[in-house]
């Protein structure tokens, strides 16, 4: 499925959270969104998922405007892993994954849920209570629920859009790779994926293209080697003496933490950056 945003603007009160953002995630592609805290990345995902309607601009799935789709139809075409879940009640892991499975024949529900749990490496956790899990395990349970929802939608249509908001935030190193590989597996089968990442290296190593968002505006967009540049690091992330390395085997760029200093990310520096709203 292809997601397209055209000149999307979004406002809360008098604050412009997204300013004429355009973006395309074609079928089979994975696009990573990076940018400083508060740049509007989560807002972008909320707009792309149809949770909030933009003030201006168009959002379409395969050319169909989101506002013409029913909530049920939307749920079949896209699924989203949110940044945090307010779940405070006891909930068996298996039942939580099942809530994502609407419109699946009752006999297949358990098989779908079990498969989703296996994909995220939690096959043995089906009978556990969600509240008894670690933060990273819980995040992957929600990922399993989201994957199950997409699988259910794909029963009657082409694979849909996977939206992930900082899906690596609670994962250890091998699980970070697992999560992104699951997303790539989804795109390989004809789905599409828009993922918010903080780690530029993960973004550069897995995504087809990277979009840099700052203060609600698109600063750069394109393949990793074109976007992850010293200039971008300096302007968007206020890194003082940025260096970008090239990974020999993959030909993709990366940065090392040793070059990054914290003091540069102060508010005054940010205000000096070019992506400032009037």
């Amino acid at each position: 499925m292809t997601l397209r945003l055209e000149a999307v603007s979004c406002r809360v009160g008098s604050r412009l959270l997204l300013d004429a953002v355009s973006l395309e995630v074609p079928r089979g592609a994975m696009v990573a969104v990076v940018g400083p805290n508060g740049a509007g990345k989560s807002t972008l995902l909320r707009v792309a998922s149809g949770l909030i309607e933009p003030e201006a601009g168009d959002v379409t799935f395969d050319g169909i405007p989101l506002k013409d789709m029913t909530p049920e139809r939307l749920a079949m075409r896209r699924a989203m892993l949110t940044q945090d879940s307010p779940l405070r009640t006891r909930f068996p892991v298996m039942d939580l994954v099942r809530t994502g499975l609407r419109g699946v024949p009752a006999k297949q529900v358990d098989a779908f849920a079990a498969l989703a749990l296996r994909r995220v490496g939690l096959a043995d956790f089906a009978r556990r209570d969600v509240l008894s899990l670690s933060g990273g395990e819980r995040q992957r349970v929600h990922l399993a629920r989201v994957l199950a929802q997409l699988e259910a939608g794909a029963l009657s249509d082409t694979p849909g859009l996977l939206l992930l908001d900082e899906p690596l935030s609670a994962q250890d190193l091998p699980r970070q790779a697992l999560v992104l590989d699951i997303a790539r597996e989804h795109t390989r089968r004809g789905g599409s994926c828009l993922v918010v990442l903080h780690d530029l290296n993960w973004a550069a190593s897995r995504a087809d293209s990277i979009m840099v968002l700052s203060q609600g505006r698109v600063c750069a967009t394109g393949p990793p080697h074109a976007v992850l540049t010293p200039d971008m690091l300096k302007e968007t992330f206020a890194v003082a003496a940025p260096r970008v390395h090239m990974h020999d085997r993959s030909g993709r760029p990366f940065v090392v933490p040793h070059d990054i200093t914290a003091a540069q990310a102060s508010e005054t520096e940010r205000k000096a950056a070019p992506c400032i709203l009037p």
Binding site: E72, A75, P86, G135
Partner: protein, 336 residues
Amino acid sequence: MRVAPLSSSTIIAILCGLLLVTGIGALAIGATGLGFGAVFGTDASGDVARLVITQIRAPRVAFAMLAGAALASSGAVMQGLFRNPLADPGLIGVSSGAALGAALVIVLGLGGLFASWAVPLGGMAGGLASTALLYGFSTRDGVMSTNTVILAGVALGAFSGALTGILIFRANDTALRDLTFWTMGSLAGATWTRIGLLMPFLIVAAVLIGVLATPLNALLLGDTDAALMGYRVERSKRLAMLGVALATGPVVAFAGVIGFVGVVVPHLVRLMTGPDHRVVLPCSALLGAILLVCADTIARIVAIPADVPVGVVTAAIGAPVFVWLLARAERGDAPS
């Protein structure tokens, strides 16, 4: 953690059996000792006994079942909707509004000759009106804030309480006694006619609440995730509030405020069944019915010939159970 050691259909079957047994037991027990023979009409206990059972005890037992089911399933809905284990039907202002409505009728003597109808009708109107008020107050641009509902509900409850208090000052002795009895909750006024009046409300509420079982499961994950899974969150919230108001408003109007059933019963049920509302809702209704029949039977016989308000019994039993549940949750629920 143990998840549902018994299958849900087994639990429902057991509860149905218990309901039958308590129902029959409650018919046989009372101020005039009539055995089980009278209940089944197999002995020669005569017309008086038949009358006592069909016209006094049976409507009262039936009313207790309906009220218990309505309060407990409403409580389960509220706790799911607000993701708050302390939520009870009173939270959306039904009880306090109904109390104010009833107090208005009792104290100002609005009912005249039709007082026995005017009080419940006043209560019903008060309950529904205050729920509507609360809903309007907490909704902006079609989005209801559950936090605002909780906070405004407390404020509205206190305000209705103050108005009711003013009315109490103006009340004469008879009105005061009626009022006191009503605020403590009693099923003594149950008649078949009143049950007939109650039924349409409860049927509509049962349909609404039944439809909500699956959306409520999704709402446990939060409004955002529920919306992302294709549930119509705002519509579900509206229907839930309407269902709860329709279920509890008339019950409170007829029987007064019967506390703790709505909070405690769903907790007890979840201990057995886990959080799935498709099981929790029917089981809460059944267990609520069973427990209120038991509580009302105790209320009828504990101080013969006096009829103790059933609200006193549910509070006396419910409060300690509630504290026990809280202590248990403190020990067992701690996440990571």
